[in-house]
């Protein structure tokens, strides 16, 4: 990440009127996206991520706040005069134009010389592996090919930033995974800032340098993928990203007494919520040592998932905990349904959630 910021949002609010009521889609978002960064806006549908992106593109004007591109205030600049391009959900290719004309559209609008258009469109189609399909119409192509046309159509203009609105949503799983790697490769190759909107946490974790997790019009957490996963800032983030176990109660001198055992929360007192990732937990039959967090319960479900087993353990106070155990040696389960077990994990893997 370099120091200069490509896109800045300063306390951006978007309100609109729907059926006589003011709806606040975005409630004050401040972001600073660095040049060359792969930045994701992640959240459930209706969280305001698409509206935020549309304000960066210029399709929506913020009700309050500023949008800056490379330090310049573009809040009131229309989309055709912003040096960012967008890859739309379901692509929005021009159905009446060939692949070539779709990709050349932006360059033609900018009155680029014919010779340069020919060269750059040709190069771009090569990058996205569509050489030889220049004359096809969009509807004659598969979803994955249309996706690549959309990408080429935006990238050929060498924008300062590329905005991608759930671009892989319409593809099947295999193709989606291939395109994730492809997108990351292209981003490294062209060195352009990517802003990626998705509701798919795996996509965001796989590709991003940084992720802003959004919920209900606000950014809940802004951090790198590892940080977001390992140290969710709020209960929402913990629940939205991956599987997470939540234990709550009142702590006294750094120990939370729950589930017939203890959770170590050094330095915390009073009401606390703690998250633990399922893969950090170990299942054992004997009581673990005093240096570990340990709770007890009985196994209610065992699911074989290939690389790992998923156990559901019902604690003595009724809370359900999910545990993942890698199938390192063989596929034999560590515990069976109905077994009475101890669950333990290291103190550093308990993450106390703010608020």
């Amino acid at each position: 990440m370099s120091g200069t910021s490509a896109i800045e949002l300063v306390d951006v609010v978007k309100e609109y009127l729907a059926h006589g009521e003011v709806v606040r889609a975005v409630k004050g978002v401040t972001l600073d996206i660095a040049e060359g960064e792969f930045f994701s806006l992640l959240g459930p549908s209706g969280c305001g991520k698409t509206t935020t992106m549309r304000m960066i593109a210029g399709f929506e004007a913020p009700s309050k706040g500023l949008v800056k591109l490379l330090g310049q205030d573009v809040t009131n600049v229309p989309p055709n005069r912003r040096d960012v391009n967008m890859v739309f959900q379901s692509y929005a290719l021009f159905p009446h134009m060939s692949v070539w004309d779709n990709v050349a559209f932006g360059l033609k609008q900018r009155k680029t010389p014919q010779e340069e258009i020919r060269r750059r469109v040709g190069e771009m189609l090569e990058i996205v592996d569509l050489t030889g399909r220049e004359k096809r119409r969009p509807r004659e192509m598969s979803g994955g090919q249309q996706q690549r046309v959309a990408l080429a159509r935006a990238l050929v203009n060498r924008p300062r930033a590329l905005l991608l609105d759930e671009p892989l949503g319409a593809l099947d799983l295999k193709l989606r995974q291939a395109m994730q790697i492809e997108l990351k490769r292209i981003q490294r190759e062209v060195g352009i800032t990517f802003v990626y909107v998705t509701h798919d946490q795996n996509e965001a974790l796989t590709m991003s340098d940084r992720i802003a997790v959004m919920n209900d019009g606000l950014v809940e957490q802004l951090a790198g993928p590892r940080e977001i996963y390992e140290r969710p800032a709020t209960a929402f983030v913990a629940g939205f990203i991956g599987t997470s176990n939540l234990l709550a109660g009142s702590a006294a001198s750094g120990v939370l007494k729950v589930g017939g055992g203890r959770v170590l929360v050094p330095g915390h007192d009073g009401d606390v919520s703690v998250t633990v990732r399922p893969e950090k937990i170990t299942i054992c039959t004997d009581e673990p040592g005093a240096g570990l967090s340990a709770v007890r319960g009985s196994v209610t479900e065992v699911v074989y998932l290939g690389t790992y087993n998923s156990y559901t353990v019902s604690l003595t106070d009724g809370v359900e905990i999910t545990v993942f155990q890698q199938n390192v040696h063989d596929a034999a389960a560590t515990a069976e349904r109905g077994d009475s077990v101890w669950l333990s994990w290291q103190a550093q893997h308990s993450y106390v959630i703010g608020s």
């Binding site: 210029g58 399709f59 229309p78 967008m86 929005a92 609008q109 935006a154």
Partner: protein, 283 residues
Amino acid sequence: MRRLTPYLLALPSWMWLAIFLVVPMVAMASVSLQTGNAIDGFAMTFSFSNYGDALSRYSPQLLRSLLYGGLATVAMLIIGYPVAYWIAFRGGHRKSVYLFLLLLPFFVSFVLRTISWNFLLSDNGILFGTLKGWGLLPADFHVLATTFAVVGGLTYNFLPFMILPIYVALERVDPRVVEAAQDLYATRTAAFRRVVLPLSLPGVFAGVLMTFVPATADPINAQILGGTANTMIGNIIQTEYLTNLDYPTASALSFTLMAVLLVGIFIYARALGTENVLEAAAR
């Protein structure tokens, strides 16, 4: 049996076409080549000169019809496209209300509506009479019995048939495609010209077809609003059939009109690009 089912299902429509299109056409073609009169009867003489005679007598009316039909079509396009555009892109959740308002005049008969235009536009009627009374218009001002009145009447009467197909084509244009054009540096005008307009051309084609053909052949507007100097080919055909009982001439004129319109449509389709028309058909 199973293989025949689709054909059997299509049979009623084929029968319909045969009885109400093919049979009358053949009958009319035969009449157009006959000679005789209404009292002694007509006999088939393969008299192709009927066409030449009819054309030499009525070519001014035929040309006038094409001109009026063409002028009205252009006027409908100029008025109708913006209306269709507005309903499709700015209509919001009231779209169906606007479409209903557009069709509302059809609840009153075509002839009655044209007669009320006659009433509105008459020289000393409710509108011009009042204005003349106030001295706002010269006493000899008139609109009835002019080209303007006939073309105006045609434009008014067939306008919805222009608007509806254009509306349907514009309605299908994905707003995100327009946004994509703007995102790719197109101004609003350029986005319209390069994206919206080409995508709506199939609708324009259908609209022109659905208005130019009936407007050119229409006898009612010229009869009610046109006076004696604006007779169109539809009036001539009507008079030849119903008053003069000269069936061969009327049939020959009908066929000539049909041929001219068909040739016109093919030239138009070619000019607009067959691809667009085929695409319109494929949708």
